[in-house]
């Protein structure tokens, strides 16, 4: 092949890859075309990877002769990664999906960090400022994304429960971020001095920078509570995109640039959309979380909490016309998605209309509940979003809240001193009766009292979601 042919085919493959990423992502924004969009982007990715391997050129523009061992390593790594990645993705339970996405994101970040580590030494010296900026920023951002994602993974799968807050963690983290930026700038400056080459490159400092970035990623993520992890994962996702884009800048590789920037900007916007759904600015998620006891609700809680027995609840549901189920994280933890579908079937058989009210931030990821309920074959059009279901509550006989808390707390509307004041909620208190299934009276993530539980219309149905619903279904069957 002539150099022109090679460049043409490679360029077309990269162009094709870039277009599939954009079109694929756009298609993923629509439920009907989403699955094809994902496949399209995957095809573009394969084309880009194959073109990179097969059409690799040397300085003269001819196909480069690369030692066989290198091909052996590349294909070996791809084969192993495909098997491991495929198995992990196919075997994971739907409830564990958010963790896995976080882990894959971390792997991409680590890949970007390793590229930086390997490319640094022979890209030093005079006139290399631009290259060094791309290499070092790609490495630093990739490392932050890697360690941050691993922490997010550990938090979501429960290994790391409570947020860990070092004393003055905000000041400490900010200072570390400033230090990291200065360190990076210093490395760019000193490595682009005349006379520095791959032998005299400051490798010790490079590993130091790598370590500081890893530590920053950890400290950045550990103070943030489990319920905010979706926002963090989305943010780290855009970080990895940015790291990939720096790689594209380094190699002047257009497909890495488009893919990376696309995810960087789309991921940032997605992060902001999620924050908006929680009515909290991003800085508040990162720096504030809910500051514990300070600024808690000033409302005195009066009234008492009522319990309801399985048999009473079964009777009540049996004679309802319309039941709305509000699923929350408790449903996911207890793996109660199948039993809740069974409950839905039983009630529908008896002529009860059943719908699900989906709050945008219910669960551990936006859309988490949809994915979970889809797993147990709940029909897509039974899942109703917040704005559509809120006017329907007045005609609803029974609202069954399963493992959700803050998203139904009326304090968000009525109590300006509440930390969640202003967050849009599911207005379940407008229904005729509300039944709340919870494991205990513990407060939700926000750590505040839920006034709903003291509402005279509300009864508590305590117990693990799966066990409690199984008992309820058994009771209903006897009727």
């Amino acid at each position: 092949m002539t150099p022109t042919t090679i460049l043409l085919i490679k360029g077309l493959a990269y162009l094709f890859g870039s277009i599939t990423f954009i079109v694929g992502l756009k298609m993923m924004g629509n439920a009907k075309s989403a699955s094809q969009g994902n496949k399209l982007a995957a095809i573009g990715m394969v084309a880009a990877i194959l073109a990179t391997i097969i059409l690799h050129t040397d300085a003269s523009g001819q196909l480069a002769s690369v030692p066989a061992i290198v091909y052996f390593i590349i294909f070996g790594a791809i084969a192993l990664g495909t098997v491991v990645g495929w198995m992990a993705a196919m075997r994971v339970q739907m409830t564990k999906m958010p963790e896995l996405v976080s882990m894959f994101n971390g792997m991409g970040g680590a890949c970007a960090a390793l590229i930086g580590l390997m490319e640094f030494a022979h890209n030093t010296g005079e006139g290399k400022t631009g290259t060094l900026i791309a290499i070092l920023l790609g490495m630093v951002i990739g490392s932050i994304s890697f360690s941050g994602s691993v922490i997010a993974f550990l938090k979501l799968n429960g290994t790391m429960g409570k947020p860990i807050r070092l004393p003055l963690y905000n000041i400490l983290n900010t200072a570390l971020l400033i230090g990291l930026s200065i360190f990076t700038a210093y490395m760019v400056h000193m490595s682009s001095q005349p006379g520095i080459d791959h032998v005299s490159a400051p490798m010790g400092l490079l590993y130091g920078l790598f370590a500081v970035a890893i530590i920053y990623g950890i400290l950045f993520t550990i103070p943030i509570g489990g319920a905010d992890m979706p926002v963090v994962i989305s943010l780290l996702n855009s970080f990895t995109g940015l790291a990939a884009a720096f790689g594209g800048f380094l190699y002047d590789n257009k497909v890495m640039l488009t893919g990376g920037i696309l995810v960087g900007s789309a991921g940032t916007l997605l992060t902001l959309i999620m924050c908006k759904a929680m009515n909290r600015p991003l800085w508040n998620v990162i720096f504030g979380a809910f500051g514990g006891s300070s600024g808690g609700s000033s409302l005195e809680v009066d009234g008492s909490i009522k319990d309801i027995s399985v048999s009473d609840l079964a009777v009540q549901l049996n004679y309802s016309k319309k039941v709305v189920i509000v699923p929350g994280y408790g449903l996911a933890v207890a793996q109660a998605q199948h039993i809740i579908k069974e409950l839905e079937n039983l009630l529908e058989e008896r002529g009860v209309e059943v719908k699900y009210a989906i709050h945008p931030v219910a669960g551990r990821m936006p859309g988490h509940m949809n994915v979970l309920l889809a797993e147990s074959n709940v029909s897509y059009d039974k899942l109703v979003e917040m704005d559509e279901i809120n006017p329907e509550f007045e005609q609803t006989d029974v609202v069954l809240v399963v493992g959700a808390n803050d998203v139904v707390n009326p304090a968000a509307k009525s109590d300006p001193s509440s930390p969640i004041y202003g967050m849009p909620i599911l207005e379940v208190d407008r229904a005729k009766t509300v039944i709340v299934n919870k494991r205990s009276m513990n407060a939700g993530y926000a750590g505040i009292e839920n006034l709903l539980f003291y509402d005279p219309k509300c009864s508590m149905f305590f117990g693990d979601a799966k066990k409690a619903l199984t008992a309820l279904v058994a009771e209903l069957k006897t009727m």
Partner: protein
């Protein structure tokens, strides 16, 4: 300072390219229903796996072959593959659930 100015002047096309790509990213995500946020995040996650292309280029260009460099390169390609394959497969699983009615 002069280096920075030089950098800007030399890379103007690139800067335009980057800015336009940012707007494409924002445009593509706009108006997406909350239901699809998780699969979308997961799909975007798979796409940034394109960083694997960089890992492959490092391997193909390796000027100083050594056991350490080969091991790092292997690791980088392996991790990038995990990101790509795992990302697309897990997104596909999520989306297939939305499809069967």
């Amino acid at each position: 300072m002069e280096q920075i100015a030089q950098l800007f002047i030399e890379n103007q096309m690139m800067i335009y390219f980057i800015i336009l790509s940012i707007f494409v990213g924002i445009e593509v995500i706009g108006g997406v229903p909350t239901v699809l946020h998780t699969p979308l995040m997961s799909g975007a996650n798979a796409i940034h796996g394109v960083v694997i292309v960089g890992a492959i280029i490092v391997m193909l260009n390796m000027t100083e072959p050594s056991i350490l460099n080969y091991m790092l390169g292997f690791l980088a390609v392996f991790l990038g593959t995990l990101n790509v394959v795992g990302g697309f497969v897990v997104t596909n699983r999520m989306l297939e659930m939305f499809q069967k009615k």
